[in-house]
Amino acid sequence: MDLQSIILAVTETAQEAVEPLKDGGVLGTLGINWKLFIAQLINFGIVLFIFWKWVVNPLGRTLTERQEKIEKGLKYSEAMEEEKKKFDDWKQQEMKKTRSEADNIMRTASDAANKIKQETISSAQSQANQLLKQAKTNIESEKVQMLREAKEELATLVVAASEKVLKSKLDSSKDKELVADSLRNIK
C-alpha cells in the first residue's frame, strides 16, 4: 500500500460522496435520513431515560442521604465533644468546689475539736483545782476541828487527872499510872 493508492481511494470516496448531491442535496450527502434520525433520537432518549431514572435519581438520592447522614454525624460528634468539654469543666469545677468545701469542713471540724478539747481541758483543770481547793479547805477545817477537840479533851483529861491526883495522894506508881492513863486517853 503506497501513498498513491491512498490518494486514489480518497479521491474515489470524495467522488462517491459528491454523487448523491445531485439528487439528495447537502443533507443527502451527509447521510441525513429522517428515519435514521428519529431512530437515533429514540436510542439517545432511551439512554437518557436509563441514566436519569436508574442511575442519577437513585444514586443522587443515596449521595444526598449519605451527605446528610455524615453532616448529621459530624454535627452530633461536635456537639457531643462540646458537651463533654462542658461536662469536664463542670466536673473540674465541682471537684474543686467539693474539695474546698471538704477542706473547709475539715478545718472547721478540727478547729471545733481543738476548741472543745481546749475547753474540756481547761474546765477539767479548773474543776480539779476547785476540788483540790475544796479538799484542802475541808482538810484544813477538819484539822482545826480535830485540834480543837483534842485540846478540849486534853483539857478535860488534864482536869480529870488533876482531880485524881488531887484526890489520891500521889506516889510514883500512881503517877506512872496516871501518865499512862492520860496517854491512853489522848490516843
Binding site: L3, I6, Q40, F44, F51, T62
Partner: protein, 267 residues
C-alpha cells in the same frame, strides 16, 4: 484497494423500509451497555458503597463537581446532570467503542455501487451525522424548554424577539428607541445562532470522529503494526475531549437559557 469509510453510514440490512446502518448497530450496543449498567445500579443501593456502585458514584460526583462549576448551584446541577452526564457518557462510550478491535474490520460482503465490498457491521455511532444531529437538536430544544419553564414563555421569547423591550422604549422615547431597535435586530440574529448551535455541535462531533476513523484507516493502511498505536491513543483522547466539549457546551446552553435576563439594565 484501500476502502476508506464513506461519509454516509452504510446500511447492513433493511427492516421494512428502515435501513439498519452500522452506526445504528453501534448505538444500539451502547444503549445495551447503559441498560445493563442501569439495571445493576437500579437495584437496592447500599449506604456504604462497594464495587460497581462505588465506581458509578465516583463518576457521578466527578461530573457533579464540574457541572457545579458552571451552574454555580447544586439544585440546578442535579437538574442538568441527567442530560449533560448522559450526553457525556453516551458520546464517550460510543467514541471509545469505535476503537475496539472488530469495529471496521468485521463485516458483510455487500454490493455497493455495483461492487462487492466488505461493509463493516460496527462503525462509531458518532461518525454518523444522524446521531450527532439528533443529540444536538435534543440538547438545544431541551435548553429552550427548560428556559421557558424557568423564566416563563414571554420573558423567554423576549430574549429573541424583543418586542417587549421595544414597547418599553417607546414609552421612554429618545435614544432608548434606537437602542431597542438595534437590540431587536440582535434578537433576530440570536434566532439564527440557535440554529447555528445545532449545526456546530453536530458537525464538530461528527467531523472529529469521522476524521479519526479515516485517519486510523489510512495509517493502518500505510503500516499495519505499532505505527497506528500513537494515533489510536490520540483517538482515545479525541473521543474524550469531544465528549467533554459536547456536554460542556450543552451545559452552558442550558445554564444560559435558564438564567434570568437582567432586564433592569435596559432601564
Amino acid at each position: 484497494m484501500l476502502a476508506l469509510p464513506p461519509l454516509v453510514a452504510e446500511p447492513i440490512f433493511q427492516i421494512g423500509s428502515f435501513p439498519v446502518t452500522n452506526t445504528y448497530i453501534n448505538s444500539l450496543v451502547a444503549v445495551l451497555i447503559f441498560l445493563v449498567a442501569g439495571f445493576l445500579l437500579r437495584k437496592k443501593q447500599a449506604m456504604i458503597p462497594r464495587g460497581f456502585q462505588n465506581v458509578a458514584e465516583g463518576i457521578l460526583e466527578f461530573m457533579l463537581g464540574y457541572v457545579d462549576r458552571v451552574t454555580g448551584e447544586r439544585k440546578k446541577s442535579l437538574k442538568f446532570l441527567p442530560i449533560v452526564g448522559g450526553l457525556f457518557l453516551f458520546i464517550l462510550i460510543s467514541n471509545w467503542m469505535g476503537l475496539i478491535p472488530g469495529t471496521g474490520s468485521i463485516g458483510r460482503w455487500l454490493l455497493v455501487h455495483g461492487e462487492q465490498e466488505l461493509v463493516p457491521i460496527f462503525r462509531p455511532a458518532n461518525s454518523d451525522l444522524n446521531m450527532t444531529l439528533a443529540m444536538a437538536v435534543f440538547a438545544v430544544v431541551t435548553s429552550h424548554i427548560l428556559g421557558i419553564a424557568a423564566i416563563g414563555f414571554f420573558k423567554y421569547a423576549n430574549k429573541f424577539i424583543k418586542l417587549g423591550d421595544l414597547y418599553r422604549s417607546l414609552r421612554k422615547g429618545g435614544i432608548n428607541i434606537m437602542i431597542a431597535s438595534f437590540e431587536f435586530g440582535v434578537g433576530i440574529i440570536e434566532v439564527f445562532s440557535e440554529i447555528a448551535k445545532m449545526v456546530s455541535l453536530s458537525l464538530r462531533l461528527f467531523g472529529n470522529i469521522f476524521a479519526g476513523e479515516v485517519l486510523l484507516t489510512v495509517i493502518a493502511g500505510l503500516v499495519a503494526y505499532l505505527v497506528p498505536l500513537p494515533f489510536m491513543f490520540l483517538e482515545l483522547l479525541v473521543g474524550f475531549i469531544q465528549a467533554i466539549v459536547f456536554s460542556m457546551l450543552t451545559l452552558v446552553y442550558l445554564t444560559m437559557a435558564t438564567a434570568e435576563l437582567p432586564t433592569e439594565a435596559h432601564h
